[in-house]
């Protein structure tokens, strides 16, 4: 192990204090190709230095002593991808001893959602790329980032309140079909349009607008707006961390 350039040996590692970093799973949604279901996708960055140079990794970086953890996540995310998410939530802290070969690294993982306008709109950079959540190119990732991504998906699928997060993957106004697409992408199965409509309207977390979306070759759907209720007690302000 210690023959790899730049890797500390065991004795050195024991004397280093743990480094603190944040990494963020950033999810957006894009429309399914030729009638298929919508897909969740995410931007990843290519590592340019050791360890794991050349592999895809979650965007992230060190925590500055003068910023909170949420601020660190927001800043790193903006710096590496140019994105400002509509939602930011702390996921889990990964601190196993051997998760980085070079030093003791404790990473606070965050989970961010982008609305439809932002998907694909990262800064032009050869070292940033978007993949569908099930793309084999990110089956392997640097460090334990694949485990972090899997955990993010597990958390997403086990959310009791999809309403809170689903609307943040869309714009401010959306059709019920678009909202259903989000649910289908998260749950990984098709939902009955009729039942979906009824269930959602009965929860009263969405509200009709007077606008309709024209252009499709069918009856124009009504646009809806999300009317949120109280957030989770520790939800992060995506702008101020």
């Amino acid at each position: 192990m210690s023959s790899v350039p730049g890797w500390a040996n065991v004795e050195e590692r024991r004397n280093l204090p743990p480094a603190l970093a944040v990494s963020t799973v950033i999810l957006g949604i894009r429309e399914g190709k030729d009638g298929g279901p919508d897909k969740l996708c995410l931007p990843v960055v290519r590592r340019v230095r050791q360890p794991h140079a050349g592999m895809w990794a979650l965007p992230g970086g060190p925590v500055d002593p003068r910023e909170s953890l949420g601020q660190a996540a927001g800043r790193n995310l903006a710096e590496t991808t140019g994105l400002r998410p509509s939602y930011l939530e702390q996921l889990y802290t990964f601190g196993d001893i051997d998760r980085s070969p070079t030093h003791r690294l404790v990473t606070i993982a965050y989970f961010a959602l982008l609305n439809a306008d932002q998907v694909g709109a990262t800064v032009q950079d050869d070292n940033v790329a978007w993949f569908d959540i099930d793309d084999p190119q990110i089956a392997q990732m640097a460090f334990d980032h694949r485990k972090i991504l899997d955990y993010a998906m597990w958390r997403l699928r086990n959310k009791t309140e999809y309403g809170q997060i689903a609307h943040r993957l869309l714009g401010e106004r959306f059709t019920l079909a678009a909202l259903r697409g989000v649910y289908e992408a998260i749950l990984g199965r098709r939902l009955d349009p009729a039942n979906f409509r009824r269930t959602l309207k009965s929860t009263a977390s969405i509200e009709e607008t007077d606008e309709y979306l024209a252009g499709g070759q069918h009856r124009p759907p009504r646009l809806y707006r999300y009317v949120g209720h109280g957030p989770d007690p520790l939800e992060v302000d995506p702008l101020h961390g």
Copy 2:
């Protein structure tokens, strides 16, 4: 602020790397007094040094560079209370800049459950005490520990699977009435014994034994055993962290 002995001033704080600590919310259950509902309770430790000397705090301490976060939680818990929990789960990481007045402190909060035998069985120590979850004496706690406790309760109440955690607050065998007591303490309301029985037996996560609990002045209840299904992907091994 900097007049308090031992408190660093702002300039000093900016140069200090964040300290890493773990704190644990340890919950057990005890029987309600004179027919009242069962109550959740927890051990807390009295701080003997600044800051917040004299106040009650969650058990915890620093993370050693050579141990994982879960190991740190388990070790600190054993050292301060003498307890070995049956369940340990990572809760959330608190890292606001001003959460400790003396230095930048990042705390990974854990959540532990004790079974009935262990409640009250801490090491004899004047600086360790048990309180009911709603005891006014812990309405205020050191640092942001009250916020951590509130968040732990919120997470507990929002668990989709109570079965997984309820049985860890009891022994290996338990009556349905005891299990119902756990649910009632968590949810904060009484449940219909008949419906509770049916609902729980239909989930099939518990199994009958051939034993009965004698001694009460009523028909002796059957004892049940928990038959778990797969854990959460990041559940912590309470013995090995």
